[in-house]
Every structure is written in C-alpha cells, then in structure tokens.
Symmetry: D2
Subunit: 133 residues, 4 copies
Amino acid sequence: MDQIKKFFTEQDQFAQHSGIELLKVDAGKAWAKLEIQPWHLNGAGTVHGGATFTLADFAFAVAANSHGTLAMGINTSTSFVNPATSGTLFAAAEEISLNNKLGSYQVRITDQDGRLIAQFQGTAYRKSNAILA
Amino acid sequence: MDQIKKFFTEQDQFAQHSGIELLKVDAGKAWAKLEIQPWHLNGAGTVHGGATFTLADFAFAVAANSHGTLAMGINTSTSFVNPATSGTLFAAAEEISLNNKLGSYQVRITDQDGRLIAQFQGTAYRKSNAILA
Amino acid sequence: MDQIKKFFTEQDQFAQHSGIELLKVDAGKAWAKLEIQPWHLNGAGTVHGGATFTLADFAFAVAANSHGTLAMGINTSTSFVNPATSGTLFAAAEEISLNNKLGSYQVRITDQDGRLIAQFQGTAYRKSNAILA
Amino acid sequence: MDQIKKFFTEQDQFAQHSGIELLKVDAGKAWAKLEIQPWHLNGAGTVHGGATFTLADFAFAVAANSHGTLAMGINTSTSFVNPATSGTLFAAAEEISLNNKLGSYQVRITDQDGRLIAQFQGTAYRKSNAILA
C-alpha cells in the first residue's frame, strides 16, 4: 500500500494540479482530501463540479488500483446534493464488488462537518498489467 | 449570449485553472476546448478523468445557464470510452429536454480527429434567479 | 406509513405485474422483494436488468414518496455487479439527501444470501401535491 | 440479424412479459416498441420507470449482442425527462463506442409523437462466447 500511495501521490499530475492530497490506501479503499481555494470555485461561487468530481475520481482510481493491477475507470455517475463554498472536502472510496475484469466503487464526498456534498459511483475495467513496474 | 460567454470565461475559476476555453454559446448549447498539457495526465499517462469531466461539466453548465436563469448541476453520468494522451479535447453540449424546473443535457467529448473520448449526460435544476445581475 | 404502503401495494400496477412485494416503509426508507420466476429471465438465462431495475426503482419511489408529497424520479444510475438466476431478490432503499425540491436515494439489491446483485442511485424531484388525497 | 432477432424475440421472457416487441436489428443498433397498457402504470398514473427502463434495456441488450458474441450490461444511466400515460413508446439504440471488451450504447425513448420520454446510456462487457449455439 505504501508503494501505491507513493505512486499516486507522485505520478497523478492532474490530482496534484487540483490540490488533492491522498491520505490513506487500503485494499479496495482510499481516502483523500481537498482544501478549498478560491480557484476551485465556479461562476456561482461554489466548488466546481469538476473539482468535486476530480477528488472523487482520484479516490476511486486509487481504490481500484490498490490490488496492484491496472484498472481504468469506464463509467461514473455522480449526484451533487449540497453545494460547498469553503473549508475542506473529504473523499472516502470503497469497493462494493470485484471480479477478475470489473470492479465497482462508491465514493462519498463530505465536508469538514461531515455533511454529504456528493455521492459517486464508478466502474473500473481491470487489465492484467501490474500498476508498478 | 455574449454576456453569458463573458461571465463564464471570467468567473469560472476552476475551468480557467484547468486550461479550458469557452468557444461558443447558443440557446441550450455550448462548445469548449482543452489543449492537453502534461499536468492534465493521471498516473497511467492518459488524460485524467477529472480533466475530461471538468471540460464536459463546464460545457454542460454554460448550456444550462444559457437561458439566463441560474441552473445547478444535480446529476451527471459519464462513459469514458477511449483514452487521450495529447492534442486537443473538444466538448459539444446540447439540451435534450427543458421545462421550468429541470433541464437535461448531453455532452460529447472528442479529440482533434473527431474520435469520441467520453459521453456525458447531465441534469440541472433551474432556480428563478437571473445568472447576470 | 401504513397508508403509503397500502397505496403503493394497491396502485402500482407495473410493480404488481412484475411480481414485486412491498415489505416495509419508513421515513425515507423502503424494503421490497421479488421471488424470481422463469418469466423474470432474459435470453441469457439470468434475471433481466429490467426486472432488477423495476425492483430498485419501486423501492426508490416508495422511499421518495414516504414523506407524503409527490416525488418523481428524474435520474437513475445502476451498476449490475452479479447475475442472479433463482431465489429471491431484496431491495433496500435509503435516503442520502433531502431538501424542499430534491431527494437522493441509494438502493442495494441483494439475493437471499446477501450477495450484492446491483447498486442503484436515484434522484427525485419533489412536487407540492400530497400523494394521498 | 434474423437469427439475433428471432433469439431475442423468443428467448427474452421478461421483455415478453412486459409487452415489448423487437422491431429491427442492425449491427450495433436495435429498435423496439411497447404499447402502453394500464398495467404499465405506476401509482401516479404514468408509465412506470421500470417499464420505460425495460424497453430501453432490451434495445440496449439487442444492440450490444448484435455482433454475435455475448455482451452483458454492467452500467446504465437513465434520465426520465417527460412522463407518458398512453399510446406507444419507441426505443432506438445505437452504439457510440466498441472495442474487444466493452461497448457503449445510447437509447432514446420517444412516444408516438416523437417527444423524448427518457434517455438511456449503457455499457456492456463483451465475453468471448457466441450468443447463438
């Protein structure tokens, strides 16, 4: 898990560019956070759906790749249930199903008070390649 | 439409931060692009789902707000069908349904060769507020 | 809750036609079941996605209408993670978010052994009409 | 295509039970219809989301299996944009992407006047088995 965490922390450039920090990785699980900055906002002054999604998608990717073989996201569905404007967003990803070829994950995005901001569901296709050389 | 375009170009900070450019707005439609940079990539060396999604979500938001009243994205679903690694991504958003309270939009993300990269479906909830003061 | 249960049990004709039984209703929650019959199967000999979906959608509708005002499903997303061929399917719907106009629900479909068959996410738009006259 | 059409018409029991008729199959495409009966309705007197979904899911399955190898639906997302109460619903499924392992499809559900009732997006996982013995 340390190697997976190191890999994603160092190699996921868009997550870095978006200010996302990987907190923890377990088998089929991942936790990440994003401290909201003014540049995360949209024209309505709330956190951009793209920033919230990127946080969820990153936690999903880490959880899906935590088994050591390459997994690619093929489908995601996101419900945005509450707007956020400041503070910190947290992502908690967990595996709900896994077989040789496919994995399904759910990610909850909450704010610093535990309020649900968005709920994300993602499906990954698993290749046979190892993620780490 | 000029005012809507100006508003989103100037006020959507996360779209700016992600290198997205708004190309055109029509009633219920929007077009945008993203020139792929190394910092748009994920650990697998392909464009991050979060970057592709942000491009789609931005085009969706502009199309949904093109009628002049505030619309908030409540649900999105995205199929990632081909990876992209370099070049330019284009988003084309179109309205598939509209009533007083809800609008549904579809966004196609293609690369510079017209190859489909992702297909996005979004639902927006329409408030009564004007988007521009 | 008794009236809501009675209403859905008696008035939802397609749920009846599909062999679905409403087990219990609470505020924002619902449980239902479907005993798999040969006519629930598709050409591959597994339970049809439409039958699994109808079970989930019914539980979603009951949970969304459990507050007494009319709620209409506007978006659903379903991951089908394991096939089912015989036995009983159970749906458990729970509310993950609620405001005046919108409610979000998650439904887990499991078989008689507790194995996850499908996971469903639904958004409902809430009208001001009472569901019961 | 004649064999695929015959197979789905005869073997998909839940589609039959739901009153769905397969109209036409092409490579990556399918068309089906459902004549609305009182038993397709929900408690609100409109066509049940499960009936509309079953029609869309059936057209998706036929289109995904039209290449002759077994394809299983793994993810679907549906926007319900207009209610229907009587008349005929039509489904038109088309492939938006295809590779060895995955196919993506879009299905439009319209009524007899061409009004959009629902839009469906589905992803199928392709096995190596032939669908017809």
